[in-house]
């Protein structure tokens, strides 16, 4: 009996150690970048917890030549437009595939999934030549367009999984009561699918916010995003790590808040239907 207690005690202690290690693993880099953003250029090269905190790095970033306020605004604009276009298009397509007889549906789903994994490096060169012809280089509209190549297929898959798991019986009885297709969408399936729509919207926002290669190649000044701004801060040599950290905090805070908001759906959203 005593032996059993000892084993249980050891198990509990090892479980606590595990939890502590996992916490450190998840949070340490976030903690360290945040800490470093309040150091000056000398202290940032010294891995110490004791220093004189200041917000100079943030002030530098919001002024010329970095102008982070404008870059964050550009990112926000691109992301909001991407979400506004992605969610209705993806939701309608997903609903249609879930509830109606669609020819070659399996093939279509595989194709959409394949599109989701198209790497930007494949598309960016053709887009560069196309945009040069059409005068879309360094425009918000152009950047929104290329981001849709990832957010639409991703959201269709996510919403297909979500809508397909909603019960159909209510729709069917509403139909018997004389409701039309749009009445069903408006009053029954739409509200039920709301959490899915929010998740797809936030995922699309995060994807567009974090996107790097398209923004690097297809924008130069007017439509430059905050991620490209971060790259410009780092530069080539003699990296100002305190500015990188402050810029990092600025680009990281919105996506951390948004992913926290959808934490319950996050893992399911990524595998989209794998967990059933």
């Amino acid at each position: 009996m005593k032996l059993k207690f000892e084993i249980k005690g050891t198990l509990r202690a090892s479980r606590l150690v595990n939890l502590a290690v996992i916490t450190a693993f998840v949070f340490f880099p976030i903690f360290w970048i945040t800490l470093s953003s309040f150091k000056d250029e000398r202290e940032v090269r010294n891995p110490s917890l004791i220093f004189d905190p200041q917000i100079l790095s943030y002030q530098i970033l919001f002024n010329e030549p970095y102008d982070f306020g404008r870059l964050l605004w550009n990112s926000l604009l691109v992301c909001v437009l991407v979400v506004i276009i992605t969610v209705p298009l993806a939701a309608a397509a997903a609903y249609s595939m879930s509830r109606f007889r669609i020819p070659a549906k399996r093939f279509l789903l595989v194709l959409i999934l394949g599109t989701q994994f198209l790497p930007p490096v494949v598309l960016v060169l053709p887009y560069f030549t196309i945009f040069r012809e059409l005068g879309l280089l360094d425009t918000i509209f152009g950047l929104v367009l290329v981001n849709l190549t990832r957010t639409i297929p991703f959201s269709i898959w996510l919403l297909y999984g979500f809508i397909d798991s909603l019960p159909r019986e209510i729709e069917e009885s509403a139909m018997i009561d004389g409701a039309g297709e749009f009445g069903i969408l408006r009053f029954i399936t739409g509200p039920l699918a709301a959490p899915g729509l929010v998740t797809a919207g936030i995922f699309s926002f995060i994807l567009a916010w974090n996107e790097f290669l398209y923004a690097l190649i297809l924008t130069s000044r007017d439509a430059k995003t905050s991620i490209v701004g971060l790259v410009a801060v780092v530069g080539e040599r003699d990296v100002p790590w305190e500015l990188m950290s402050a810029g990092g905090v600025l680009v990281m805070v919105p996506v951390i808040l948004l992913s926290w908001a959808i934490r319950r759906y996050f893992a399911e959203g990524l595998t989209a239907g794998a967990i059933k």
């Binding site: 109606f100 595989v110 198209l118």
Partner: protein, 289 residues
């Protein structure tokens, strides 16, 4: 299952599909066309003549291409293996774990949401020789590693290039596996305990086999993301030292945007697309679409 049939379905389906395929098929077909041409921006602003499969033949004979395939493969395998090991450990640690564990579960998604560019810079910063916090801590615990300059050593560079990825995928796959773990009936574990099965034995003979489908799905997902990854190479190593971390993705970028060889870069891009298409198809087979 009762599927309806009404013309409305086309009005709902087509706008999304037309936009999506419009903005992907146009550039892809252009890449395919360019891959059959000779076009170096250093020689002429417009494409030159047709060369058939010459750009593809060039890839097969290019040792740098094979190097990039090898780097991509080892990078993906290392990333997936470490992510899964971390994920299993996290999932098992967080079952029945009380308030702290529940809070931790909710935070497992955070690293994944952080931009890859920032993850890359952060790790590079923490690995700085003599100044970085990771370098200092590791040197204190393992003095024999103090001579290593992490991102300048070929094998360590590849490992650290994987770190920002498994920092995100470890916790995230832990969360996914936790979901699968909670679907296993409690009675199975109780019965095993009554039969005197020790924890590790239970994990090996019961838990892991039941989790295997989810493990496969997550592994392939990590591999798909790793093969398509570009940002970390650009922010951490630029493919170096030498070509030790030059993935296929980065090789295509370099040929296209620093050697301006559009034809060859396009052919390589087509090869990458076909490879990823194959992996995506495998993935849908696993999901049983």
């Amino acid at each position: 299952m009762n599927l309806r049939n009404s013309p409305v379905k086309w009005a709902l389906l087509l706008p999304g599909l037309v936009v999506m395929f419009g903005i992907t098929i146009t550039p892809i077909s252009q890449a395919v066309v360019m891959s059959f041409r000779r076009w170096k921006l250093t020689e002429s602003p417009e494409p030159a003549g047709w060369v058939g499969f010459e750009n593809y033949v060039r890839a097969i004979n290019d040792e740098n291409f094979w190097n990039s395939i090898w780097v991509t493969t080892s990078y993906s395998v290392v990333t997936a293996a470490i992510s899964l090991a971390l994920g299993l450990w996290i999932a098992v640690s967080l079952t029945h774990s009380g308030p702290w564990g529940n809070f931790l579960k909710a935070t497992l998604v955070l690293p994944f949401a952080i931009p890859l560019v920032l993850r890359g810079y952060s790790y590079r910063f923490m690995l700085l020789e003599g100044d970085g916090v990771f370098d200092v801590l590791i040197d204190a615990v393992f003095p024999f590693l103090s001579e290593v300059v992490w991102l300048s050593d070929p094998s360590w560079a590849l490992f650290w290039l994987a770190a920002p990825t498994f920092w995100a995928w470890g916790p995230l796959s832990g969360l996914m596996l936790l979901g699968a773990l909670n679907n296993i009936p409690e009675e199975i574990f109780e019965a095993a305990e009554l039969d005197g099965s020790r924890p590790f034995h239970t994990f090996r003979t019961i838990t892991f086999p039941l989790l295997r489908p989810m493990v496969l799905v997550v592994s392939l997902l990590v591999v798909l993301f790793s093969v398509a990854m570009f940002d970390l190479v650009q922010t951490m190593t630029k493919g170096g030292p030498g070509r030790a971390t030059e993935t296929l993705n980065y090789f295509i970028f370099r040929i296209g945007f620093s050697q301006f060889d559009i034809g060859y870069s396009s052919a390589l891009a087509v090869i990458l697309t076909l490879g990823l298409g194959g992996l995506a198809y495998l993935y849908t087979r696993l999901l049983k679409v």
